[in-house]
């Protein structure tokens, strides 16, 4: 059966639909109403105000700024919030266990595989970008879109403006 082979199945779209997968997965958990994902047919757009070589970049993650072992009791974690924390020095690790990523296929032990701080520093050194914001940022992966729109996103904007950020790189896990 072709589905058992470790190759893409030509009878299906090549990339995974996480909307389809998560809908079926949580239905199997007994959640009757499927999640209704953000759906828009238009997007805002802002052009660069200045060259990249003069721009300050802000890096945003969905990981948590906690140095905890992977097997920590998730029930003991603090309530999440939007944050900005100093990047000097960069964190040794970020906590990712509460996020839905593929814990069987891969791992997040290498920070730069999802939080490319050292790769960005290299690009600053060669002058590709002007600078990195002195702080990095995080926002919760919030079930409530209203809370993201009314609370987390405006807080994030305010934090980045405080730091004079020109461009933003957002890396969800």
């Amino acid at each position: 059966m072709i589905n058992d082979a470790a190759v893409a199945d030509p009878a299906y779209r090549s990339f995974v639909s996480y909307i389809d997968k998560s809908r079926d997965f949580y239905a199997a958990h007994g959640y009757e109403h499927p999640y209704r994902w953000t759906t828009n047919d238009q997007s805002p757009f802002t052009s660069l105000r200045k060259p990249l070589a003069e721009s300050r970049i802000g890096l945003i993650t969905t990981a948590l700024p906690l140095d905890l072992p992977d097997d920590v009791d998730l029930e003991t974690l603090p309530i999440e919030s939007t944050f900005a924390l100093p990047l000097d020095p960069p964190p040794d690790r970020l906590f990712t266990q509460t996020r839905d990523w593929d814990k069987e296929a891969t791992h997040t032990n290498d920070l730069d595989s999802f939080f490319p701080i050292h790769r960005l520093q290299e690009l600053v050194e060669i002058g590709r970008i002007g600078s990195i914001s002195p702080r990095f940022y995080g926002i919760p992966t919030e079930y409530s879109q209203r809370r993201t729109i009314e609370s987390d996103a405006p807080q994030l904007l305010s934090l980045m403006r405080d730091d004079g950020v020109d461009i933003a790189m957002l890396v969800p896990l």
Binding site: F15, I19, H29, G30, W37, Q42, P44, W101, D112, M169
Partner: protein, 123 residues
């Protein structure tokens, strides 16, 4: 993340999202999206593959310069190596249906307890 990108962009900060959940990001409509077709968890490149991470980070920056309009998706050229993860992640079939049902019950109990104890985000 998509909603945050849209908010920043609307307020004058150009954004790029680097991710692996293509349908979710594209359905939300974002200004710039760099897609890497990997299992969720390493959207900036395979762990400890510095060369790949440099390429992907560089492509994300390039996107600021080459995009002329919103909803621009660029796909990186990298492949994971095998495709087993596409089938296995969040798999639901007869072998695990009962296990998932029980996990759901446990999860609902935990959610109810967190709510009762006030350990959820407030309005």
């Amino acid at each position: 993340m998509s909603l945050a990108a849209r908010h920043l962009e609307s307020n004058g900060i150009p954004t790029v999202i680097c991710g692996s959940a293509r349908d979710i990001v594209e359905q939300a409509s974002v200004p710039r999206f760099l897609f890497t077709d990997f299992p969720l968890g390493n959207p900036m490149g395979k762990p400890y593959d510095k060369g790949m991470q440099q390429e992907i980070t560089g492509m994300a920056l390039d996107l600021f310069e080459i995009s002329r309009f919103p909803r621009t998706t660029v796909q990186t050229p990298f492949t994971w190596g095998d495709d087993q993860w596409r089938r296995d992640y969040m798999r639901v079939d007869n072998s695990n249906r009962e296990e998932l049902r029980r996990a759901g019950e446990l999860r609902k109990m935990q959610q109810a307890r967190r709510k009762a104890e006030g350990r959820i985000r407030s309005q």
